[in-house]
């Protein structure tokens, strides 16, 4: 597709490091008018960093940056915007309390001579713009009343119609339903005809192959391949993404890994037809004692919602939950805890008390087991000391404020909360995210030890390595639905990515 003409955007030898760690190493990248350019790579491969450089978010880097052949240096996102570059970030950034029309015109509402907003004109023009996108909503409805997918489409529409000639879309389809994805693609194609250049980042390789003209693959901060979409396949792209031959220091899980014979121990958790508005659709599975069940899926696939439902923090719209055969509807997280369910969420900040000492963090969820009315601080400290010793938490001082511990040690404290009186079911979200190799191995050993003690464990992660290193059985969650189960069979990173 790319014809022989000069690119509107050209990057040469871009290198960018964060605190000594190189996120991009000598990357060349060119973008032409009338092109949709797909970008793939694992988390942390450098795609987002490169896009943030283009959008003027990161301003410190080395290498050449040319627009229309002229060397340019953006000092802020505002500069990039003025040069006709717009970006839709992965996280929704809309104003849910304003109307649809106000969101479409955010920051540049049409005004009359007195500086008053021309509401009628704004509503009419917003309606026209959205109609071009195939969105038929009353521009005067409150945006927050619309479904999330539609909100995201409106945000994308705002950026697409802002007059930008270079549009960057970071994971735009994760919250969209198939017909909405179709609508988005139709609009992207139309904009391409009008001469815009579009960068499209996605984990969904089928989407990339479907809509883009060119695909670039990133791995470990390097551009490893650039090819016409028509000339490649999903398998080839996945292979380029994860690489053979082990560039990584850790176990790369590129080779097949045999999952063990499925266990027939007692069913601890039975989930049947669970659904939650747009996040989960008819999810059914079982978790057994002495088994680690891995649930893998991309960001936004509904994992987070699923874990919150299991711990009573979210209420499902439909479906049932049973713990050891007993149907449960958790009115609160306290009810879930009493039923023997424990959760370690992906964010440590969410479950730890940074201004309190380590021992209070460890004892908080078991206080009712050790004291009925009066606290027993000596016993609390003893329990915490045992956990600190067992999990090798450093420094081994239970009276220290939690905030003074390193991230990996905080994650161990988050686990330690549940270990003195082990639950029946332990739900772990991203248990090793952001940890160094040593701490990761520690956590893996803790989980294996708990499995040996007969707990049912569910590990939810967006990183294939995490699931592969821990799970005995793996479910793949895609856009809120379970699409594949791996059990008693060989599995590898590309097989997981292929399924998701």
């Amino acid at each position: 597709m790319p014809e022989v003409r000069s690119p509107i955007l050209e990057l040469q030898g871009i290198t960018k490091s964060f605190g000594g760690v190189e996120a991009l190493r000598g990357v060349d990248f060119a973008l032409h008018a009338g092109e949709i350019h797909g970008l793939v790579g694992e988390n942390g491969a450098g795609k987002s960093t490169l896009m943030k450089i283009i959008a003027g978010v990161h301003t410190e880097f080395s290498g050449r940056f040319l627009i229309d052949g002229k060397e340019t240096h953006f000092r802020s996102a505002r500069d990039a915007h003025a040069a006709g570059i717009a970006m839709v970030h992965q996280e929704l950034s809309v104003a849910p309390d304003l109307t649809v029309a106000e969101n479409v015109f955010l920051g540049n509402q049409p005004t009359n001579a007195l500086g008053l907003v021309q509401w009628r004109r704004m509503a009419r023009e917003a309606g026209e713009q959205l109609a071009r996108f195939g969105i038929d909503v009353d521009p005067m409805t409150r945006l927050g009343d619309l479904p999330i997918g539609l909100q995201q489409l409106i945000e994308i529409a705002r950026v697409l119609f802002s007059g930008a000639r270079i549009v960057i879309l970071d994971e735009p389809t994760s919250a969209l339903s198939p017909p909405e994805v179709e609508r988005l693609f139709a609009t992207l194609r139309r904009l391409r005809e009008e001469g815009a250049a579009i960068v499209f980042i996605s984990h969904f390789i089928e989407d990339i192959l479907l809509v883009s003209d060119t695909v670039t693959v990133f791995r470990n901060g390097r551009k490893v391949a650039e090819t016409a979409s028509a000339a490649t396949s999903k398998g080839a792209l996945i292979e380029a993404m994860i690489g053979r031959g082990g560039e990584a220091l850790e176990h790369s899980y590129t080779d097949d890994l045999m999952l063990p014979q499925s266990s027939d121990s007692a069913v601890i958790l039975k989930v049947d037809q669970l659904s939650l508005s747009r996040s989960l659709k008819d999810v059914s599975f079982e978790a057994r004692a002495g088994e680690v069940l891995g649930i893998y899926g991309f960001m936004g696939c509904g994992q987070q919602e699923l874990s919150r439902i299991l711990f009573g923090k979210l209420k499902p719209d439909g479906g049932t939950l049973a713990v050891e055969g007993e149907p449960k509807t958790f009115a609160s997280t306290a009810a879930a805890r009493r039923a023997g369910v424990a959760l370690v969420p992906e964010s440590r900040r969410d479950m730890l008390f940074h201004q309190e000492p380590v021992y209070k963090n460890v004892s908080i969820s078991i206080l009712d087991r050790i004291s009925s009315l009066l606290l027993k601080p000596t016993q609390e400290r003893d329990i915490a000391r045992r956990q600190v010793e067992q999990l090798q938490i450093r420094p081994p001082v239970v009276g220290l404020d939690l905030g003074m511990l390193s991230g990996g040690n905080q994650q161990k404290v988050a686990l330690a909360k549940w270990l003195t009186y082990p639950p029946k079911l332990l739900v772990l979200c991203e248990p090793t995210r952001g940890m160094d190799v040593g701490a990761k191995n520690d956590v893996i050993n803790i989980v294996r030890d708990l499995r040996a003690r007969g707990l049912a464990i569910i590990v939810l992660s967006t990183e294939p390595e995490t699931v592969l290193s821990l799970a005995d059985r793996i479910l793949v969650l895609k856009r809120g639905a379970l699409v594949r189960e791996f059990k008693n069979e060989p599995v590898s990173k590309d097989r997981l990515l292929e399924a998701a």
Binding site: F311, K313, S332, T333, A334, A336, R337, R338, A342, L343, P345, R349, D350, M351, L352, F353, H354, Q355, E356, K360, I364, S365, L367, D368, S371, S372, L373, L374, L375, R385, E389, P395, P396, V397, V398, G399, L400, D401, G403, M404, K417
Partner: protein, 342 residues
């Protein structure tokens, strides 16, 4: 294990006094304020630093102290209760309403035995607290708005009960506790001391007290630890209302009358006592010890300004400025603490 722990603790201490003082700023600053104010008034007026006057100050802060016990629980949970003064007022009026008044008091009241009157009044304030609790937790109205509405509701009930009249009689027990004394010490001071002590023991030594601090420290984490956060928030709202009710009943006996708008100044005084004492408005830090220091700061300030014979209109302004200074310290202390934790 133990030896390495001590070694580390020593190494930690060796980091110096300054970081420690910075992290303790919220406790130290109110105490310094108290010492400074006391010294100032002792110099400025010979009648200030006397044993008699200490008794005065204690008596003057007693009703505020009783109300502030419950409010401390609420603020530790990072919530607020604006209905405390109104609930104090309506409870004081209720206990008089259920007591036989002299014939010249023109209130269509319902005379009951003293014990019944007291129990009914406490039930009334507990019920109002429960409404606050349900509004906050079940419906999800922010406490600021919910208790603002309750402030009006309680004032409305007060108005309906007394209809602009003044009642004087309250049950004997209340009269004794509110205005009597034992071997020279006013009962109301003893009650306030007992309630403050009780509040302190609950917050420091019970499981519930720990939950209050943890919910205030990080509500999300408390929920992820499997605590019933709504139950704890509901409980502190009821505790606050009951403490206010007790303060209201004894206050009515102390003042010698029950009437509309009698407790209006106690709303600001109680909040000021808790916050000036150094309990964090963001929750999770502080306690009854801080509230006691705060009560003394306010008590010394109010009493001392009378002793130096200052323009009574200026007095209001000075109180406002002191409160502002305390708020600045409160917010600043939180920031220092967060910095120290990083």
């Amino acid at each position: 294990m133990a030896s390495s722990e001590t070694a580390f603790a020593e190494a930690h201490r060796a980091r110096g006094l300054a970081p420690f003082l910075r992290s303790q700023m919220r406790n130290i600053a109110p105490f310094l304020t108290l010492i400074f104010l006391s010294a100032f008034f002792a110099f400025a007026s010979p009648s200030f630093a006397t044993l008699d006057n200490l008794g005065n100050i204690l008596t003057q802060v007693s009703v505020t102290g009783i109300i502030a016990v419950g409010l401390t629980f609420v603020i530790l949970c990072a919530e607020i209760d604006l209905s405390i003064a109104s609930i104090a007022n309506v409870t004081g009026i209720a206990v008089a309403y259920f007591t036989l008044q002299e014939s010249y008091v023109n209130i269509a009241n319902v005379p009951l035995p003293g014990a019944v009157a007291i129990v009914l009044s406490i039930l009334l304030c507990a019920l109002l607290g429960l409404v606050n609790a349900l509004g906050l937790t079940v419906i999800g109205i922010p406490s600021f708005i919910m208790t603002l509405a309750m402030m009006q509701i309680a004032a409305g009930i007060s108005a309906l009960l007394v209809r602009g009249q003044i009642a004087y009689k309250v049950p004997g027990l209340i009269t004794t506790l509110g205005s009597g004394s034992v071997s020279g010490i006013p009962w109301i001071v003893i009650v306030a001391a007992i309630m403050l002590l009780g509040g302190h023991l609950v917050l420091t030594y019970t499981r519930f007290g720990r939950y209050v601090y943890m919910v205030g420290g990080n509500r999300e984490a408390a929920e992820y630890s499997g605590l019933n956060v709504k139950l704890i928030l509901g409980a502190v709202m009821v505790i606050s209302a009951v403490c206010s009710g007790i303060g209201g009943m004894l206050g009515v006996a102390h003042f010698g009358s029950a009437q509309q708008n009698e407790f209006d100044t106690y709303l600001l005084d109680s909040i000021a006592a808790v916050v000036v004492g150094g309990t964090s408005l963001f929750g999770g830090r502080g306690g009854i010890g801080n509230t006691i220091v705060g009560l003394f700061v306010l008590g010394v300030l109010n009493n001392g300004l009378d002793h130096v014979n200052i323009d009574s209109f200026l007095k209001i302004l000075i109180r406002g400025l002191i409160l502002l200074a305390a708020l600045i310290i409160n917010v600043y202390a939180q920031r220092l603490r967060e910095k120290a934790a990083e």
